[in-house]
Amino acid sequence: MARSSDRDGGDATRASSAGADTGLTDADATDVGGDPLRPSDHIDSVRPTAADGAGITQPKLGPLGYLRFFWRQLTSMKTALFLLMLLAVAAIPGSLVPQRTSDPNGVVQYRTDHPDLFPVLDKLGVFDTYSSPWFSAVYLLLFISLIGCIIPRTRHHFEALRARPPKTPARLSRLAGYRSITLETAGGAGDDAITAARAVDAARAQLKRSGYRTQVFGDSVSAERGYLRETGNLVFHSALVGVLLTVGVGGGFGYSGQRVVVEGQTFSNVLGSYDSFNPGRWFDETQLSPFSIALDEFSTEYAPDTAGGAGMATDFTADVTAQARGGDAEKAQIKVNSPLSIGGSNVYLLGNGYAVDVTVRDGEGNVAFRDTVPFLPQDTNLTSLGVIKVPDALPDQLGMIGFFYPTAADNGTGALTSTDPDTTNPVLSLNVYSGDLGLDAGVPTSVYTLDTDGLTPLAGTDDDAQEKAVQLTPGETATIPDGLGTITFDGVKRFASFDIHHDPSQVWVLLFAGLSFAGLLTALFVPRRRVWVKATETDEGVRLEYAGLARGEDPTLGRAVGDIAKAHLGGLGVPADVAREVADDPARHDVEKPGPAAGGRGRKI
C-alpha cells in the first residue's frame, strides 16, 4: 500500500491533492506534526514509532493519570468518529416506531397492535428515543469529546495567528508544485538588473498583496495564508455546541399549546383555555402574554373540478380578530405557511374541520344541551367523527357518537360516505346511547371519546339498538327512541385548530446554525497553504524556485504556485509566454534571459 509506506517514510503533512511528492523531510524540521494539539490519531500528526512503546517500562498510572488517559481516549479522532457513527445508528429506532412527542396517537395504536412488544420497547425508551438516556449519552459524550478538541485547538490557533511563517526548507524541490527557472542576468547593470534581493522583495510584495503573511529568510520568502480555514473550522464546531446548548437550555423557557376554535368563538391566552399544553422546564404561568384571538371566519378553497386534483383543498384561511393587551383589536389572517405573531408568541394554523351545532331536548322537553361540537376529520373528504355528551338530560344521561359527512353519498352498501370535503350535502349520523356517562366520577375523560360499556344503545348500528342511526340534515329534528327526547341539527360551522408557540431560544438556534454554516463553508473551501519563493545567485544567473505546501485538503495548490510564479516572473520582466510556460509546466527547469530587451530566447538547458 502506497499510502502507509508514504507515512512510514516520515510524511507528517500529506499534501494529498496536488499529487506531489510529500516526503517532507525539510518541512518537518520547521513544522513537526502540523498541529501538535490535534488529536494524536489525526492524519496530520506524527505517527508513533515502534520505539515509543517498545523497551520502555511505562510508569504506573495514578488516578490523575487514568483520568488523563481516558480524556485522551475520549478526545481522540477514533472515538469521535465512533460516537458519530453511533449517533447515526442510535437515531434510527426513533424513525421506526412512533414517538410520543411527534405522534402520541401512533404510540397508543402501537400498544394496541403489539401488546407483547410494547412494554419491552417502552422500557428501552424507544418511544422517546431522542430524550432517552442512551441517545442522550451518545450525543453528550460526542459533544464533550468535541469540546475537548475545540479548546486546545483554539489555543493553538491563537498562537498560530501570532506566529511568523516558518523557515524556508532547504530543499524546495521535494514540495508540491515545485518549479524553478534560472534567469540570465546577462551582465546587465543598473536598475533593471535582476538580483536575488530584488526578486525576493518583489515576491514578498506580491504575496503580501494576495493575502499571505510573509517573512524573509535571507534569499527566500516564506509565506502562509488561509488562517481563516482553521478559524472557520473552530467556528463551525463551536457553533454546533452553541446549537446544542440553546436547544437544550433555551428550549426550557418556551411553551406550546393547542386549541380548537370554532367560528365565532374567542381564544384567550390563559392556561385554562388550552386543549393541550406542553410547558418547557422553566415555564412559569406568568409567561403567558395576555392576548385573545377570535375566529371570525374560516374559509377553504378547493381546486376546480376541471383540473387535476379536483376537490382538493388548495387554501385555508382563518380570518381572525386579534387583540394584545393594551392594543386595539386588529383584523388578521392566519394561513398554513404564515403564522400570526402576537404577544411574543406565534399562532399557527395546523388543522381544521367541521363543528356541528346541536340542540338536545330531554324526555321532559327541557333543553339539556345546546352547543357547537367539533368533529375530527378522518379522511381527505372530511368524514368527521365526534361525540356529544348530554349529562344534564333527564331521566337518563345521553351520549352520542356520530359521523358528519360534508357531502354524503351512499357507498353502495347502504352506509354513508363523504365524496367531497365541501358541504354540498351535509348529513349528521348519530348512534345514541343512554345511561351513566361516567362524568361524575371525577376522572378526567376525553371530549372526543365515549366509553359505551354499560350504556344502553338506543339507535345505531349496535345489534341491541331499537332503531337505525339517527340521520339529520341541517334544520332537521329527530326523536330519540324510548321517549328520551329530541335532537336538532342546527347547522355546521368550521373550526380551526391553532398551535400557540413561544420559544425565545429559536432566534439563537438560527443564529448558531447560520454561524456554523458560514464556518463550514470557510473551513472547507478556504485553502490553507504555505508558499516559498527562493532566489539564489548562481554562475548562470539568478535561480528562482517556487514551491508550496498544503495544510489540509488543497486541490488547487499546484496551480496556485504556478500562478504565483507567473505573476512574479511577469513582474520581473520575463516575457509572458515564458512565464506562462513555467506556470503551466512544473517539470520545466530552464535557463531564461529576462526581458524582451535581452533579445532572443537564449535558452540553456
Partner: protein, 336 residues
C-alpha cells in the same frame, strides 16, 4: 385541457429521454469493455518491451517506459493525471457522451413541460422529485465533467439514472395536481431544490467511492480481471475526487437541513420535531460528517472511509424511497 396536454408531452419526453439514455448506457458499457481490451493490449506491449529490454539492455528501458506512460495520457487540470481517455476518447465514449447530452436536453424539456403544466416548480411530489432529481444528477455529472474527466463513471451515472427514472415514472406517476397549502411556500423552491442538488453530488461521490474500493482491491492485486480499471485513475486519486464531490454535497445537505428547519418553523410551528424525514436527513448528515472526519483519522483513510460515502448515499436513497412511502410522518407529499 392545456395542463393535461403539457403533462402528456412531458411524459412523452421522459420516455424519449429514457430511450436515449439507454443508448448512452450501452455505449458507456461498450466503452468500458473496449478499455479492457486497450488495457490488455497496452499491458501486452509493455511486457513485450520489457522482454526486449532484457535482451538489449542498453536503451530499451526508456522505450519500455514510454509505452507504459502512453496509457494514462496527460490530465486535464494540471499536475495530476486525470482519468484515462483524456484526449483520445474511444468512439463508443463519444457516442455515449453525445447521447447523454441529447437525452439530457430531452429530459430537461420534460421537466420544464411538467413545470409549465403544473404552473409551479416541478418537484412537489415523488414523481416530480424523481424526474427533476435524475435530470440534476446528469446535469451535475456533465458540469463536473468540465473540470475533471469522469467519463469512466458514465455507465454508473446512466445506469443509476435509468433505474431511478424508470421507478419514478412507472411506480410514482401522479397526474398534475395543485399544491396543498403546506407546500405553498418559497421554501419549496429553495429547500427541495438544494436537497436534490446535494443528492446529485452524493450520487456521483458514491460512484467514485465504489470505483475506489474496486481499484484498491486491484492495486493490492487481490482482483484479477476487470482490466478496464487500468484506464481509471488510481485509488488515491479516486478517493480525492469522491471526497471533494461529497464535500459539496455535504455543504448543500447542511443547507437543506437548516432551510428545512426554518420552513418547518413556519409551516408546523416548530423547527425540529424528530419527524421521520427529519430523523433520516439528520442521520445522513451525521454519516457524511463521519465520512469527512474519517479521512482525517489515521487508519480510516482509504477504503474504510469510502464505505461511509457509499452507506451515506444508500441512506439518501432510503430516505427518498422507503421513508417517503412506508414511514409515517409529516413529509407526506408523495402524492401516492
Amino acid at each position: 385541457m392545456v395542463t393535461a396536454d403539457l403533462a402528456y408531452y412531458s411524459l412523452v419526453a421522459v420516455y424519449s429521454a429514457m430511450a436515449i439514455y439507454t443508448i448512452s448506457f450501452v455505449a458507456f458499457a461498450l466503452d468500458l469493455a473496449k478499455r479492457s481490451g486497450d488495457a490488455q493490449q497496452a499491458a501486452a506491449r509493455a511486457a513485450k518491451a520489457e522482454a526486449l529490454a532484457t535482451t538489449t539492455v542498453s536503451r530499451s528501458s526508456s522505450g519500455g517506459s514510454t509505452v507504459v506512460l502512453d496509457r494514462p495520457s496527460g490530465g486535464a487540470g494540471g499536475a495530476v493525471p486525470a482519468a484515462g481517455g483524456g484526449a483520445k476518447a474511444s468512439s463508443f465514449e463519444r457516442v455515449a457522451i453525445a447521447m447523454m447530452l441529447l437525452g439530457f436536453v430531452v429530459h430537461v424539456s420534460s421537466v420544464v413541460l411538467r413545470g409549465l403544466a403544473a404552473g409551479r416548480v416541478p418537484w412537489a411530489n415523488m414523481f416530480e422529485f424523481s424526474l427533476t432529481g435524475t435530470a440534476i444528477i446528469v446535469g451535475v455529472y456533465l458540469a463536473v465533467q468540465l473540470v475533471v474527466n469522469l467519463r469512466f463513471l458514465g455507465a454508473y451515472v446512466m445506469g443509476l439514472n435509468l433505474v431511478l427514472l424508470a421507478i419514478g415514472t412507472v411506480n410514482y406517476y401522479v397526474a398534475v395536481s395543485p399544491l396543498p397549502p403546506a407546500l405553498q411556500s418559497a421554501w419549496l423552491v429553495i429547500h427541495v431544490f438544494v436537497a436534490i442538488l446535494g443528492t446529485a453530488f452524493f450520487a456521483i461521490a458514491a460512484g467514485l467511492s465504489a470505483a475506489q474500493l474496486v481499484q484498491t482491491k486491484r492495486e493490492q492485486s487481490k482482483l484479477a480481471g476487470l482490466r478496464f480499471l487500468d484506464t481509471l485513475p488510481g485509488a488515491e486519486r479516486l478517493e480525492d475526487l469522491a471526497y471533494r464531490i461529497a464535500l459539496v454535497g455535504f455543504v448543500l445537505w447542511t443547507f437543506t437541513l437548516i432551510a428545512g428547519a426554518i420552513w418547518a418553523e413556519r409551516a408546523w410551528g416548530r423547527y425540529w420535531g424528530w419527524d421521520t424525514k427529519e430523523v433520516w436527513t439528520f442521520i445522513i448528515w451525521v454519516l457524511y460528517a463521519g465520512y469527512i472526519h474519517a479521512r482525517a483519522t489515521r487508519g480510516w483513510r482509504g477504503a474504510r472511509s469510502s464505505w461511509l460515502s457509499i452507506i451515506g448515499f444508500a441512506a439518501v436513497m432510503f430516505n427518498f424511497s422507503v421513508v417517503n412511502v412506508f414511514f409515517k410522518g409529516l413529509h407526506a407529499y408523495s402524492g401516492l
